[in-house]
Symmetry: C3
């Protein structure tokens, strides 16, 4: 039997079908934390868009994206649901793409069943039988796999437990807000003559030079949500003292280490998979290349929190940094400036 | 008391002695998953072999190997057993070697007791008192430690719990197959004049140039089992739908992140140590430099699964990629191509 | 409300206040493993010192340090205690510094409340409400954040559970000794003309060149406790057979992987946070950039153990290596040299 030849039939005929409208990161589609009713077929439509993006003032990449954003949108289902994706590759694009879901079960994660040339669409349905947050990405084959991934083509799928999240003691926990951060390493060729990063006319034009940089394994830029500053200043994530925030973080290629300056990971699930007991009180947590993770924190203090890849070179010099702006009352019991800066006495 | 001066005597006189015949990776010696009878002394003989290997068409390394393979062979015992290794360094070799077992207890892991010059042999016995899968490697001292390791000298030792493996609920689990993948970063000097990777006449001749590349910390090539393609195509690992496969993966120097495209880590043991509760539903799992790990998966779908280091640059461009070819019936409930690629409608 | 504006008052007026005298790594201030009495305010005074250090014979860095050492000193409190730090930046320094405690709760971890120019001091009090070992570091803003961290400004804070440490079964465990190892990646510019690493007159003079190396993400040197050899030979850590040693390891910027050659991590706490069940029998354990971790081992054999970052290039060539010298009786049951090196038979 080859991939896609029917063995077992799908049990989806009698299930309710719902459409999910995708939204731009760091936001998630509207969803229930605890599932209502039985398993559903959740239908999403996603367009691939090749486009040049300015990842930092003056630095341009011939990016490839799911849905026009980097990372691609978060999809949300509950364990036991089916996700049915219509994947469209408009004629305005130049390359063949596909999709591989880490959440799915079946050789190549759907990658072998979803190749779409410009002008084509395909429909893939996967059963979401493990709760967690999982990467999806383009994987069209050979050298195109790393090239499409490091030029932007990945996103994530959140599979919530039907009865919601549980803490390390098995007690139900809910979040007041959820944010989705996609970290991307970029490998941008530099022009020694002009002293500037090179700019190209198309993904294929950029490919030769870019592959050479990729081979060296060290990205030249790293972004959270596609652009240095996408999550800082006016674009900062927000919360209030007392609110519990779930941070979902995906990295499709390079390892990273996440830290919330001034906060913690109250609950951090191994691999972002919710059938594992979450670890607690984490100062920094690992997200591997090819992993989406989940960390929950209840804010206790107001202020601007930096949310960083704690290789601080990667955060500050390469760009892997966001902000969370938190409103509320300062608690001097937790932290107090007892004496302002003044002369040494 | 110095290393090797007798304090406590070994309790091995009355134990059964068995010989274990080593086999080439990705295979393991024949073994029982649950131990039969009491602790044994498991005797193995291993020859060191220095030899040039072609890690990729046209790319040659003056490798050093345990038993002629990269990685060196997997040894298998049960917790409480003793491993007794005869390590031989034939006169045809040029260097002094030794062995350090991460599974062992005693300063330098046996490294201080096992130096063998060409023409020499030594016998070391270690007690295997912790269940897990552990790296062994050559560590002859100083700069020779990283040089021998990154030119190929490492392998792994599997110490099974006497009563077999347990899942996250403490329930016994068994595997139908077990594969052993050794990941190796290579640092091959490049000749700008010829546009080719350099080739050398001996390990010592290659050393100066190779150390310079090593210093830069980024490998030029990464292999699974010693050669790009050692585990793909005709050499793919195989399984059937319904079979449970244990994947043992070792990396003696660089961190890696393992993903089975289209599958999961059903059970992944922290550090590959079986006294830990395994995590479940992992999309990707960490193997640190200097660690051997264990992940178990029951295949539910047929097809060709890629087994990769999910830094996809390292997988596709540098070579860290294998295949698992799985036979069986496709299950459309888990994944279905609802609509083949066709015009956008 | 902004950072530092009073909301809740601190509950410290009636608490006992004790002064803690900081000591140089790898040592810790005197402390009780189980807390005596109720929560205290633990007062420490720490001076910042900019100074050139020789990280390896002939290799000099314009370092910035907390208390004159790299890493900065370990502070020790119990869960529920308050740490009150007087941070002084003597007039002999050239830069503004501050401190960010990963253990603390409040935006920027105290970084926004503690900027001190040369000649200034400030006092910060934090509540230590989560047990674990946590990094602190300088984070003065922008590019100065990675620059101050990779030139030496970090340390760690140990927050012990009031009732002491527990093993994986919830049973109390104590240590006979505790050592603190700070790993530092250095990015030292090289002078192609002289064939030597460059030397500079001040941190600001070194900055431009150093940032260029940092951008490449690969350190040129890595030290344990500030200097190649700080923990080897005569400076080795020591223990006796039967003693239980707690190893605290911090890395403020780069990921590392720790291995004790010939020993194990009997107990390794995820993230060094003691409310997590420790994993056991680890051959190697992860310390992320921005993380301090804790591993406990009971020595069973005498000899010199190497304690390494198990990227052996980073250990041996770059410098990330220490020793533990252990006295006692050799146990041939655990490891025996059955046959010394001799002719192959
Ligand atoms: Cu694509
Ligand atoms: Cu993938
Ligand atoms: Cu060797
Ligand atoms: Cu080792
Ligand atoms: Cu500073
Ligand atoms: Cu930090
Ligand atoms: Mg890196
Ligand atoms: Mg995940
Ligand atoms: Mg690397
Ligand atoms: Mg999968
Ligand atoms: Mg292991
Ligand atoms: Mg904190
Ligand atoms: Mg690195
Ligand atoms: Mg050991
Ligand atoms: Mg910690």
């Amino acid at each position: 039997t080859k991939i896609g030849e029917i063995g077992v039939e799908a049990n989806v005929k009698d299930l309710e079908r719902v459409s999910q409208k995708l939204v731009n990161p760091p936001f998630l589609p509207e969803h229930d934390q605890v599932a209502k009713g039985g398993p559903k077929v959740v239908q999403v439509v996603m367009d691939i868009e090749e486009k040049e993006i300015e990842i930092k003032p003056g630095v341009f990449v011939q990016a490839m994206t799911f849905n026009g954003t980097n990372p691609g949108p978060m999809m949300v289902v509950h364990e036991g649901d089916y996700l049915e994706l219509t994947l469209r590759n408009p004629l305005t694009n130049t390359m063949t793409h596909n999709i591989d879901f880490h959440a799915s079960t079946g050789a190549l994660g759907g990658g072998g069943l979803t190749h779409v040339a410009p002008g084509q669409q395909t429909i893939l349905r996967i059963k979401c039988d493990r709760p967690g947050v999982f990467v999806y990405h383009c994987a069209p084959g050979g050298i195109m796999i790393p090239y499409h991934v490091v030029t932007g083509m990945y996103g994530a799928l959140l599979v919530l437990p039907r009865d919601g999240l549980k803490d390390n003691n098995g007690k139900s926990v809910t979040y007041d807000k959820v944010y989705y951060i996609g970290e991307q390493g970029w490998y941008v060729p530099f022009d020694d003559k002009t002293g500037k990063y090179k700019r190209y006319s198309s993904p294929i034009a950029a490919m030769g030079d870019t592959l050479k940089i990729m081979e060296g394994l060290n990205p030249t830029h790293i972004t959270f949500n596609g652009k240095v500053g996408a999550l800082t200043g006016d674009n900062a994530m927000t919360a209030k003292v007392g609110e519990t925030v779930l941070f979902l973080h995906s990295q499709a290629n390079e390892d990273t280490r996440i830290h919330l300056i001034g906060g913690h990971g109250d609950l951090v699930w191994p691999g972002g998979s919710f059938n594992n007991t979450p670890t607690v009180d984490r100062e920094t947590w690992s997200i591997l290349g090819g992993e989406a993770g989940a960390a929950m924190y209840t804010f206790k203090q107001p202020g601007v929190y930096a949310y960083v890849n704690h290789n601080l070179i990667e955060a500050v010099m390469l760009g892997a940094l966001g902000h969370v702006s938190v409103e509320g009352e300062w608690n001097n019991d937790l932290m107090e400036q007892v004496q302002k800066a003044g002369p040494i006495v």
